[in-house]
């Protein structure tokens, strides 16, 4: 056969798979993949065999049977006659609640601590360094237990609030801090309160519009509107007006002692508070470091240039440094939010009924469906993590350098 290129083609020999650099990496990868598949197959098969030896099958039908247990913190109504699936949902909502609250508080504390750690004031910077190191270098579980122990041991029991018990409610008898949780007034939505809420939401929208108008105006004329004071007025005045015009439709139900415990109001359980505070404090230490490194990553020349233009330090931070620092901050921040969400599964340590405690705890225990339950649990955390990171990635791409 005529060979157009003129170079003789070698015949392929099997040993080339190992000795020929062109093929070697391919060979290794194929072998590694086969070994991986084999061990996976072995794991699955072993599990199936062992389940069969124990007389167990693999099925998710248990989700639709009666749960039989009660859950104290319910965002949606739940009774022991509901299904395991609903119990899992109640747990999921509790997980999301503490994760959401935790991410917000952790960010607030973290940004504060990060900025303050850069303070020129020696004492402030020192305290913040101590805070960050103490939080970062002790296990989270210990913080959860410490906060919980303080909440149960250092606060009075509900019965101490009785006559002569030595404890009393705070804020004009509206809030009780007890070792079963904090009891706060509960809003009762009377007739016409929908309108008040609508007015309030509209004024929030108005605040956003105001800010946009103000920015446009500044860009065009250079004139600055008193945005902050106007926003404050918009926030309070229309809603309060509507409230009184409608005849005060929203009232408060105060917590009161009755029987064994406080009745009425909203009970924020100690388990939620302990888990929330501990998760937030712990994660905030990592966020503080991220914020600090983000700010330090913006070159000093930027600050000097802004000062040279006559900008005040506050505005320099707000308009020059932070927008640039954000680009460095966001990606690692995402992983802190993911960590916080997954760490919330330590909830059982304080008896907080998150999804790990309901689906991954009591349900598995009552039904014996370990593999199914843990699979569902893993899938849930995976989905939540993917959602959080895609939302944050979206935000990240909106603040990152736009190449034009």
């Amino acid at each position: 056969m005529a060979d157009m290129t003129g170079t003789p083609r070698d015949t392929f020999r099997l040993s080339q798979l190992l000795y020929d650099a062109r093929y070697r990496s391919m060979t290794i990868q194929v072998i590694a993949a086969m070994l991986l598949m084999l061990s996976l197959a072995w794991l699955v098969d072993n599990t199936v065999q062992n389940l069969a030896a124990l007389g167990k099958d693999f099925s998710f039908r248990f989700l639709w049977t009666t749960a039989g247990y009660d859950i104290n913190q319910q965002i949606i109504p739940f009774s022991s006659q509901d299904t395991h699936a609903r119990a899992a949902l109640v747990g999921i909502l509790n997980t999301l609640l503490v994760a959401f609250m935790g991410c917000i508080l952790a960010t607030v504390i973290g940004v504060l601590a990060g900025v303050l750690r850069l303070s020129k004031n020696f004492v402030v910077a020192g305290i913040m360094t101590f805070y960050v190191e103490a939080m970062r270098n002790t296990p989270l579980l210990i913080w959860i237990l410490i906060v919980f122990a303080v909440m149960t041991e250092a606060t009075p029991q509900p019965r101490d609030f009785r006559e002569g018990g030595g404890a009393s409610m705070i804020l004009w008898d509206s809030v009780a801090i007890s070792n079963r949780g904090v009891f706060v007034p509960k809003p009762l939505w009377g007739e016409g309160s929908g309108l008040v809420v609508a007015v309030f939401l509209l004024s929030i929208a108005a605040i956003f519009i105001l800010r946009r108008v103000a920015r446009k105006r500044q860009e065009q004329t250079g004139e600055q509107l008193p945005v902050f004071r106007l926003s404050l007025a918009l926030f309070f005045i229309p809603a309060l007006l509507a409230f009184f015009v409608m005849g005060q439709p929203i009232t408060l139900e105060m917590p009161e002692l009755g029987g064994f415990n406080f009745v009425g109001g909203i009970q924020i359980r100690n388990s939620l508070i302990a888990l929330w505070l501990a998760l937030s404090l712990y994660t905030s230490a990592f966020i503080a470091e991220i914020v600090r490194s983000g700010i330090l990553a913006v070159s000093r020349g930027q600050t000097e240039a802004a000062f040279a233009l006559g900008m005040q330090p506050n505005r320099t931070m707000q308009l020059v440094i932070l927008p640039q620092a954000l680009r460095v901050i966001i990606p690692p921040l995402i992983s802190q939010f993911l960590n916080l969400t997954k760490n919330s599964s330590l909830a059982l340590a304080v008896g907080y009924m998150d999804v790990r405690s309901t689906l991954g705890g009591i349900t598995i225990n009552q039904t014996g469906r370990e593999i199914e339950g843990i699979l569902l649990l893993g899938t849930f955390y995976l989905i939540v993590s993917l959602i959080i990171s895609s939302a944050m990635n979206y935000y990240n791409s909106s603040v990152k350098l736009k190449e034009r």
Binding site: N46, G68, Q81, T152, Q157, N179, R180, F260, G351, Q366
Partner: protein, 339 residues
């Protein structure tokens, strides 16, 4: 070629898994010790003594099984398990037998891939409150905060009791008995609920045990007993008949003090002879030595001795025999005949 390796591996793995499940006795004897799933610490039932040796009513059954299978009641490795982890640990083969205040229920026997082989304590669920709350019946507990160990039968009974009586409560889940005790004593819950034996045992460790009462209502049946994995019937038989041996020994008044003497020569009671190996070969049929029951009774005593030593009326736990008396005394303890 790829396919045949794959199938070969599957077959080997399958065989290994199949073999592993059906030879607990051989595993125990090869290891030279019994792995017993036990409590993390419950006065009277499972607790370390001053020398760090595990002692207690449930512990004694573990030691009896070790004496029967290995001839040495000390050859036990205790694995402390929480109520949530116990059944998984047993199913996964981390322990050979579980003796941990565990209630025999339909679901556990059938859905969890486990087998209950007997009852060593007939119990029921109760409620403990502070005396000064002035509560005299569980029906007065409307609105109370109740501490409850998760992963127990008591969780379901509690929900049922309050629902049926149309009263409300706030459950506070705790992971271990120690945590429940701490929360209860701190007043974070008004009521602690679990098996009455567990309440009595927990109360026995309080500084002022007299300030707490166990309410009269018994809201469930809690037959507590040893558990093994489903599928190894020979091992299940060994555990079951070790328990029966403890009971039968009490019935025949064979004690740790007199067992060796009775076993030294055949008596005129054929059942005693068969038990102690002076007649027939019952031990061999279980794959054990012929003096297996002699070993058991001489090292841990009979059921009555164990009861009185750890949880009886002369101990701090102070439980009466009640349902746990021999059938000849109006109780439910009844060993099947050694024939």
């Amino acid at each position: 070629m790829k396919k045949s390796i794959f199938l070969g591996t599957l077959a080997v793995a399958g065989l290994a898994a199949g073999l592993a499940s059906a030879q607990t006795l051989a595993d125990v004897q090869a290891r030279g010790s019994l792995k017993c799933g036990s409590n993390e610490g419950l006065a009277g039932f499972a607790f370390p003594d001053a020398n760090g040796n595990m002692q207690g009513f449930d512990v004694a059954l573990c030691r009896a099984i070790a004496a029967a299978t290995l001839g040495d009641a000390q050859a036990v490795e205790f694995v402390p398990l929480t109520s949530q982890t116990r059944f998984t640990a047993l199913a996964a083969g981390e322990v050979d037998v579980l003796v941990r205040n565990s209630t025999w229920t339909f679901t556990r026997d059938n859905d969890l891939g486990l087998d209950f082989v007997g009852v060593n304590y007939y119990d029921g669920q109760g409620f403990m409150v502070r005396k000064d709350l002035g509560v005299s019946s569980a029906r007065e507990l409307d609105g109370a905060t109740v501490c409850i160990q998760t992963g127990t039968t008591t969780e379901l009974n509690l929900a049922d009791f309050f629902r049926v009586n149309a009263i409300s409560y706030e459950p506070v889940p705790v992971a271990t008995n120690a945590e429940g005790q701490q929360q209860y004593l701190a007043g974070a819950c008004d009521v602690y609920t679990t098996d009455i034996s567990g309440l009595a045992a927990t109360r026995a460790t309080f500084e002022n045990a007299g300030d707490h009462v166990i309410l009269p209502e018994v809201v469930s049946k809690e037959p507590l007993g040893p558990v093994v994995r489903h599928g190894d019937n020979a091992w299940g038989d060994i555990v079951r008949w070790t328990l029966f041996a403890l009971l039968a020994a009490e019935e025949h008044e064979i004690t740790s003090a007199n067992v060796r003497e009775i076993a030294s020569a055949a008596t005129d009671n054929p059942e005693i002879n068969r038990m102690l190996g002076t007649e027939g070969e019952l031990g061999q049929k279980l794959g054990l030595s012929s003096d297996w029951i002699v070993n058991v009774i001489s090292s841990v005593g009979n059921y009555g001795e164990i009861f009185e030593a750890y949880i009886g009326e002369n101990t701090p736990v102070g439980l009466a025999r009640g349902l746990n008396a021999q059938w000849t005394n109006g109780g439910l303890m009844y060993a099947m005949p050694f024939n």
